[in-house]
């Protein structure tokens, strides 16, 4: 990678790491990219930080960074250009408000069911967290190459 490191070619975002969060490192990187996309910090064509820079900043394994970038690429969000770096290609759809209202309604129904079967607030949170973890794990380990659909509103249920 011989690109000069002047301001023009710097990535708009920089990664941080929360070592105590319990979330695997590569996932934290993936989430930060998705979060930045959602909030508009990253736009189409922007470059992700170079592997070397991330590694020098955070003292993490370069294979971890590569894994995160591969993950993003398999989700269709980024594309690597040989000799240049990794760039944003796709976009995360904003969730439309109507979709959110529908999700909220079905969630309230589920919460009533959960309470009826005896779960209290903490129990509900615990069940939801572990199921969400399983769901995320299976999705990331299950997606092996190929472009996948970006998250769409109403897909979860």
């Amino acid at each position: 990678m011989g690109i000069d490191k002047q301001g023009i070619d710097r990535s708009p975002i920089v990664f941080t790491l929360d070592p105590a969060s319990g979330v695997p490192t590569y996932l934290q990187l993936v989430h930060q990219v998705e979060h930045a996309l959602r909030l508009g910090y990253l736009k189409q064509g922007d470059q992700l930080p170079k592997v070397r820079e991330v590694v020098a900043d955070l003292a993490i394994n370069p294979n971890t960074v590569l894994k995160a970038y591969r993950d993003l690429e398999s989700k269709g969000l980024t594309a690597g250009r040989p000799g240049q770096g990794t760039f944003i290609e796709g976009a995360l759809d904003q969730i439309d408000l109507a979709g959110v209202a529908g999700l909220r309604k079905s969630l309230l129904g589920w919460l009533t069911q959960a309470e009826d079967s005896g779960l209290d607030s903490d129990g509900i949170v615990a069940l939801f967290s572990s199921t969400l973890r399983d769901f995320t794990e299976r999705r990331t380990t299950g997606d092996a190459g190929g472009k996948a659909r970006a998250r769409r509103a109403g897909g979860a249920a």
């Binding site: 790491l17 070592p19 319990g22 695997p24 490192t25 592997v51 070397r52 590694v55 020098a56 900043d57 955070l58 003292a59 993490i60 394994n61 370069p62 294979n63 971890t64 960074v65 894994k67 572990s130 973890r133 399983d134 794990e137 380990t141």
Partner: protein, 295 residues
């Protein structure tokens, strides 16, 4: 290509077996963490890999079959021993010159630049540098040889957190830039998940667990459930913490297993630290892991 390969590697000092029947096949391009309690045999393994010790039995080869300790191996492997031994009366510039004269390949330019960047006084005796600076100097000398394998023995044991971070950042950068493989030993588990992508776990001179971290984590599961709940025969139970009512299990799942978590059990992925701790606590005679049998 396997960067380190051993077969039934054994090292005895007198009657004590520091390392026994160690068989590994570590592919290149990883940062390999060799973990275990003090005296487990980590340093012994590293010494055998870099040629400082010769095997009592078995074989060890590096970089695709080159015998450990041979001239070709010495040429392509850089080692930073515990306590970073440097000649205390020599300055950084002297050490650079010294290392250059002891090797066929040495990037003097890179070494001088790094010393500058790190703010190490080039003419000051190594004995007067701080611990972090000495570590960085030792690492600089190793990296300037542009090795294919970097071996570090408890490199961050005596460093403060900032120095530790800077040190590992330098190691990782070298991995990213030069594609070197790294073999390091540590008895601190907490920070490993960030840096290691291959694990070798040694306890009492025996390898208990080894493999790519991603695979290891994928093969294990943390399960919670009622203690009377039926257990899946596909599980190999590594750790079992049970009360009369509840059981916490850390299990290895056979590759052949296709179904999800058995009913009644709540599963979640295990962290590298939890996995290592559980295997280290395994005090029964060593069982090769399910995947190990297949090798």
């Amino acid at each position: 290509m396997n960067v380190v390969e051993t077969r039934d590697l054994t090292k005895r000092y007198g009657k004590v077996a520091a390392l026994q029947d160690c068989s590994l096949a570590i592919p290149e391009g990883h940062l390999v963490a060799v973990v275990g309690p003090n005296g487990a045999g980590k340093s012994t393994l590293l010494n055998l890999v870099v040629g400082l010790a010769a095997p009592t039995a078995g074989e060890v080869s590096v970089l695709g079959g080159v015998p450990a300790g041979s001239a070709a191996a010495l040429d392509a492997i850089a080692f930073v021993a515990q306590d970073m031994p440097l000649y205390r009366s020599l300055s950084a510039v002297d050490m650079i010159h010294l290392t250059r004269n002891l090797n066929r390949h040495f990037d003097t330019e890179y070494a001088r630049r790094r010393i500058d960047d790190l703010g190490i006084a080039p003419k000051r005796r190594a004995g007067k540098l701080s611990g972090g600076q000495r570590a960085q100097l030792a690492l600089t000398l190793a990296l300037a040889r542009h090795p294919r394998l970097l071996v570090l023995d408890e490199p961050t044991a005596a460093l403060d957190p900032l120095a530790r971070h800077d040190f590992m950042a330098a190691v990782m950068t070298a991995m990213a830039e030069d594609g070197i493989s790294v073999l390091l030993s540590s008895h601190v588990l907490a920070e490993l998940e960030r840096v290691a992508d291959y694990l070798v776990l040694i306890s009492h001179g025996q390898v208990r667990l080894d493999g790519v971290v991603e695979d290891l984590i994928g093969r294990h599961l943390l399960l919670t459930g009622p203690s009377l709940q039926a257990r899946d025969p596909d599980w190999r139970i590594i750790q079992d913490i049970s009360t009369s009512a509840q059981s916490h299990l850390l299990v290895e799942i056979a590759e052949s297993s296709t179904h999800g978590v058995a009913p009644g059990w709540e599963g979640r992925p295990v962290s590298l630290e939890q996995l290592a701790m559980a295997y280290l606590r395994e005090t029964t005679s060593p069982q090769t892991s399910l995947a190990g049998v297949a090798r």
